[in-house]
């Protein structure tokens, strides 16, 4: 009887108003306001297995996970640990077969990393969209860290200029690596680096390389690029 009464009162009364516990005057901005200087709020506490067993929880649900000793919130991407930074990331990684001739070497010509949407090892679709080879559009303002790494299996002997560069909206904004290789004989060769940039929503980030070999294509070993949102 009491239970029925309470639910009735809450469901009719609270739809149009707020609830205060420990205060007779909840703020107009609060739906539920808890006031205390010596008592806490305790969310539902359960193990990780119990949390995962909740049938179709709704977004915004919160629990205290006693397995991880952390608050978890339900989002459209599943249960998320509040206490663990989650940097939205995209990683494009491609391992090449022998004799692929995929590395363009026109002298001083910037070529996009040959990694496309199908090479995504992981992508946070809320932030990133892959719009072409080595080309990613971000949907939010922020600070992004970009890494790039590539290697070739048959770098020729002699001096060869190389660059790994970041373009933002078509403009060169920095080098991940730049120098000359000077191998004694044909061998594997590779380089990597990282750069952090400030970007606006809808900026397009491209990772490009230069490898001077007078246009004679070389064989790619591994191309890898990653972007993570730091802030």
């Amino acid at each position: 009887m009491l239970r029925f009464l309470a639910i009735f009162l809450l469901s009719t009364g609270a739809i149009s108003a707020q609830v205060g516990i420990g205060t007779p005057n909840p703020s107009p901005s609060a739906i539920l306001q808890l006031e205390s200087i010596d008592k806490t709020f305790v969310p539902p506490r359960m193990t990780n297995a119990q949390m995962l067993a909740i049938p179709s929880p709704i977004n915004g649900s919160m629990i205290y996970n006693t397995t991880h000793n952390a608050m978890f919130v339900r989002t459209s991407n599943g249960w998320k640990n509040f206490f663990e930074t989650s940097n939205a990331s995209v990683v494009l990684n491609r391992v090449f077969a022998a004799g692929n001739g995929q590395v363009s070497t026109t002298n001083n010509n910037y070529t996009n990393f040959p990694v496309a949407a199908s090479d995504a090892a992981t992508i946070d679709n809320g932030i990133y969209s892959i719009t072409g080879n080595g080309k990613v559009k971000v949907s939010e303002n922020g600070i992004y860290m970009i890494t790039g790494s590539f290697s070739v299996t048959n770098m020729p002997a002699g001096v060869r200029k190389y660059i790994i560069a970041i373009y933002q909206n078509g403009n060169l904004v920095g080098y991940l690596s730049r120098g000359t290789a000077n191998l004694e004989s044909t061998d594997e060769w590779g380089s990597s680096g990282s750069l952090s940039i400030s970007a606006l929503a809808n900026d397009v980030i491209e990772v490009k390389y230069v490898l001077n070999n007078n246009g004679a294509a070389l064989d790619a070993r591994i191309f890898n690029m990653g972007i993570t949102k730091l802030k």
Binding site: R3, L5, A6, I7, L9, L10, T12, G13, A14, A17, Q18, V19, G20, T23, P24, N25, P26, S27, A30, I31, Q33, E35, I37, D38, K39, T40, F41, V42, P43, P57, S61, Y64, T66, N69, M71, F83, E84, N87, S89, V91, N93, T122, T147, S149, S151, A181, N182, L183, E184, D187, W189, G190, S191, S192, G193, S194, I222, N224, G226, T228
Partner: protein
């Protein structure tokens, strides 16, 4: 009006919560919710108190939450005590070593000489050091990997080198691979960075190659892995 409702609600909460679910702003509490607040224009407000008042709470339950006015941060009670929500951090392991020697070979790679004894900092729930230059990640996710090493007495002349990360003997990528050329004996180093997606339980091996036939003097060797996502 708010006064009346809050008093009524307060009166009715005590018996209700023991028995079932509560909705505020909704008549249809989702089966998965114990307490469901529905609003598009009003917020949920935690108990607010000073730092001193927070720490004076006798034996708070693990899982408790308050808003700390002194720190201007939500706080939660964990098994270790009260912590602010700004503990947000990327789980990271750093291994570093200075001094000692660096093995070289004209034919084969060596693992980076960094083991459990060289852990500067770690998030042990995420990383296990399995031996020289070998680290297992215990959760799936996006990881930033970096490695660097330097010697103080790289001989004059030219020689091949590389530094890379491997999984089960398969190359995942080179941080750096090329050929160096020193005019005289001098310091020399190599470094690089890479972002990779790993499955839970994946083992990363950090290995290097310096084409030389005698041990060199180690200045630094460092491995850092950070879980980004």
């Amino acid at each position: 009006m708010p006064r009346k409702i809050s008093v009524l609600a307060l009166l009715c909460f005590l018996p209700t919560i023991l028995l079932g679910q509560v909705g505020i702003g909704t008549a249809n509490v989702h089966p998965s919710a114990l307490l469901q607040l529905e609003s598009t224009k009003a917020a949920f407000v935690l108990p607010r108190m000073s730092d001193a008042q927070m720490t004076a709470i006798p034996a708070p339950e693990v899982g408790s939450m308050i808003f700390n006015n002194s720190e201007n941060l939500p706080y939660f009670r964990g098994a270790q005590g009260w912590s602010g929500f700004d503990i947000n951090s990327n789980p990271t392991i750093i291994l570093s070593r200075s001094g000692g020697s660096v093995q070289t070979s004209t034919t084969g790679m060596y693992p980076m000489q960094l083991s459990t004894a060289h852990v500067l900092s770690t998030s042990s729930a995420y990383f296990t050091v399995d031996g020289p230059g070998a680290i297992t990640v215990s959760r799936a996710g996006v990881y930033l990997l970096s490695a660097s090493m330097a010697v103080s007495n790289m001989p004059a002349g030219s020689r091949n080198y590389h530094l890379g990360v491997y999984r089960n003997g398969v190359l995942l990528g080179y941080f750096s691979r090329s050929r160096l050329e020193n005019n005289t004996v001098d310091y020399w180093g190599m470094t690089g960075t890479m972002m990779l997606y790993a499955q839970a339980g994946e083992l990363f091996y950090f290995r290097y190659f310096i084409n030389h036939n005698a041990a060199l003097a180690n200045v630094f060797q460092t491995i850092c892995i950070t879980k980004l996502n």
